[in-house]
């Protein structure tokens, strides 16, 4: 069973859905420390660029967003571009969509699955683990 997973924006953003599977995954893993989540280094920076829209949609206060952001930051290891940039070219051929290229490159570089709820990625031939499956893996530990 793999213990390292690449997380994408879908996982990070969807973890803010009330009663969602993803918040349960992060909360359980915070206690169990079973899996290591990795992501491209600029992912949370890009999330922060969309802060105004996230606040509007979630109806969370700025402080609540910052606290949630801090929590997620502590749950994910961010990988420098230099550590996976050589796989970007290969990833362009493998990724179902251009937007998935950094995650696929990271997945190839670290030889680990992608953890995502993105329908396009799940339907692809890549090694992708859905939130429900990962929660089951955590629950069965």
């Amino acid at each position: 069973m793999p213990n390292k997973f690449v997380v994408d924006a879908n996982v990070v953003i969807s973890s803010l859905i009330m009663h969602g599977v993803l918040s349960s995954v992060f909360l359980s893993n915070n206690i169990l420390k079973k899996f290591e989540f990795i992501a491209p280094e600029f992912l949370l920076e890009e999330v922060k660029k969309h802060k105004a829209r996230i606040l509007k949609i979630t109806k969370l206060s700025e402080q609540e967003f910052e606290d949630a952001y801090e929590f997620l930051l502590s749950e994910i290891t961010f990988i420098r571009a230099e550590e996976f940039s050589e796989f970007l070219s290969k990833a362009r051929h493998l990724a179902p969509h251009e937007k998935d290229v950094p995650y696929v490159a990271l997945s190839v570089a670290f030889n680990c699955p992608i953890f995502s709820g993105d329908k396009g990625l799940i339907k692809s031939k890549l090694n992708v683990v859905s939130p429900r499956k990962l929660l089951d893996m955590l629950s069965n530990s």
Binding site: V12, S14, L16, L27, F42, S85, K99
Partner: protein, 78 residues
């Protein structure tokens, strides 16, 4: 207050041998609060969120596109 009983891992037994039960209880209490407060806070925040799956998918697509563009500009030859 709920009481929790647990077993000390063997490798830590000697570390805790010199502590009395009250000290140990205070230490574990502090550790538990420290560890769980982040989890509880995140849970409380998410319970207030009005984010829907549709909004999350759209927003995540935008963020991923912006991220991919950034790497593509950083490494144009790759």
């Amino acid at each position: 207050m709920e009481e929790i009983r647990f077993k000390l891992p063997r490798e830590l037994e000697s570390e805790f041998e010199s502590m009395n039960k009250l000290e140990l209880s205070i230490l574990l209490n502090k550790l538990l609060i420290e560890r769980l407060s982040k989890v509880v806070k995140f849970k409380q925040i998410v319970s207030k969120s009005q984010l829907t799956e549709k909004d999350a998918d759209e927003l995540a697509d935008e963020i991923s596109s912006s991220l991919a563009k950034r790497y593509s500009e950083m490494f144009p030859d790759k």
